[in-house]
Symmetry: C2
Subunit: 335 residues, 2 copies
């Protein structure tokens, strides 16, 4: 295992300390075991707070999006493992500004169980909570079971929309509703070319032949829908977009945002080649792309591969997407 | 070779097309063979223009920094190969706003030869040029031969300083002088854990044993100063910082910016663990870190490893570093 790390057990606390050392003017770590990241400074009274939680190994997801215009807090688990309900509760209490807390997170068993417990305890303390699950991975279940799909890179768009809606002073119910509506219009599919290595395990999470790629693989190495021979970038983008558009039809003259997300080891050049294929296809159909996101937004350690997310916009969602945001790993200052 | 690409010969034109499709409101491609990227729109009359050039395979270096507050243009070569002098000349003519053009680029033979030819031809056409070479790689030559060192990630800081100085309306000589002064205070060293693959070659550029890392390796796989057994992140950071500080002494109470740059396949978590070690060491010495840069700034395709850059600041350099910048892959909106 070739990793720039110290003891595997210190992997999470040390990268968190690195975040705080680098961006301590904008975020800070709280909690007895120092596993909760919140925005530095006092939140705005009466503003809905937006929080998430999840395992480590996906940076910038999740905690890289804590900051202005996106998340107020994130509870952090070990690599690919859920954080505790105690930390989720501690976070909810820390960020609440009297207007309630939206818990916005990926649809994974551990996170769900722990968040439910934390939300229940928060309600006892008279903190209103609402919950929106991210289930954007179109490959993880058929359309008919879309509430059971996993949450992947599309959650970054959801963080953006929820944070912007909260900044507009909307109520907890309104922030939850518009975030749900955004997610109804967001789909993602990924393709993996190589496995990754969890530090405490020390070996590859799965194997994949040198001439094969896996379509629809999850960000923890969950099995995909098809192992296929290596395709060209154009072919892979075509297969992925076919799948996304089957799930989320795109009308001519409509507008979307597209995220081409690197899973960890794939060079930016390759992501741009994939984006080129996606953009040309959409233009041929008369679909316009607004604010493309190309880079590493939701990774799986050093996995090679990428995901494509399509976010179907309408005027309200577009306006929220373009509102300002500034976090350690996401900046948007549209004029 | 597992890459998300189409034909190897189309690798560069296709990723460039991807850049233009994604960021066409901010940058555009010019030139007969479409290998020059310039800022969209007309430059400010009387402002010094800043340009660079270099081979592909290092994104966001070089062309990801074309935009507001940094570069006006970039000539693009094939993977790890210099662009032509014709394209450099075409770029110089395209971006000149009457105040001259600073050619700011890494110290590599091909780029140097071609830029010299282009600058000479530009002078014939009465366009004033100045040249600043980036030689920040402390491992590539001993201190006594520092003008012969290679240029690596430190060039991103140089782009930032030059662009900011040009934005302040300084003259060509002044922009060149302050950029040179910045580079006198910038040193980088890298460590490689795995090789990369050039698309048109199709095999790894070098080999490195599963339990070894190479200190001081260049971003094209140039040999480093030492092949050593895998070290912990803290040990590696220590060895690298020893080397940098020997070259660039840091006084207590001084201020630096630090870049921990991923070479391609190294997860952000690991870069943060390295940053933690660097920051703790500097703090122990009473050295403050301003505007840390952690992420992928200058890569080598899918190489695993990182580089550390130290930029020793004074009030003028600090002010230039914090000025606004907005390019497809670099955003700075300090308040």
């Amino acid at each position: 295992m070739k990793k720039l790390m110290n003891a595997a057990k210190d992997f999470v606390p040390e990268y968190l300390e690195g975040i705080e050392l680098a961006y301590g003017d904008r975020v800070r770590i709280i909690g007895e075991d120092r596993r909760v990241l919140v925005r530095a400074g006092q939140g705005k009274a009466g503003r809905v707070a937006v929080v998430t939680a999840g395992g480590s190994g996906h940076l910038p997801v999740f905690l890289g999006y804590v900051g202005e215009g996106m998340l107020d807090g994130c509870a952090v688990g070990n690599v690919f493992a859920s954080p505790s309900s105690e930390n989720m509760l501690h976070m909810i209490k820390a960020v609440n500004q009297g207007a309630g807390v939206l818990c916005l997170y990926g649809n994974y068993g551990g996170d769900k169980m722990n968040f439910h417990m934390a939300e229940e305890l928060a309600e006892f303390e008279e903190i209103a909570t609402a919950e929106v699950l991210v289930c954007d991975d179109a490959a993880s279940r058929p359309k008919e079971e879309k509430e059971m799909r996993r949450g992947v890179a599309g959650m970054v768009y959801a963080f953006k929309i929820a944070g912007a809606a909260a900044d507009q002073g909307r109520s907890l119910e309104e922030v939850a509703a518009v975030t749900r509506r955004a997610l109804d219009n967001i789909r993602t599919i990924g393709v993996a070319l190589s496995p990754c290595i969890v530090p405490e395990v020390g070996r590859e999470t799965f194997t994949i032949a040198p001439d094969e790629m896996e379509l629809g693989m999850g960000i923890h190495g969950e099995p995909g829908i098809q192992v296929c021979k290596m395709m060209s970038a154009d072919e892979a983008a075509g297969v992925m977009m076919d799948r996304l558009e089957e799930d989320l039809p795109l009308a001519p003259n409509s507008e979307v945002s597209v995220m081409v997300n690197g899973l960890g080891a794939t060079p930016l050049e390759e992501l741009l080649i994939v984006y080129r294929a996606v953009c040309r296809r959409l233009r041929r159909k008369g679909v316009q792309v607004f604010m493309p996101h190309i880079g590493e937004f939701a990774t799986s350690m050093e996995m090679a591969g990428c995901s494509i997310t399509v976010f179907r916009l309408d005027p309200e969602l577009k306006a929220l997407l373009r509102m300002p945001a500034s976090t350690p790993f996401y900046t948007n200052h549209n004029k």
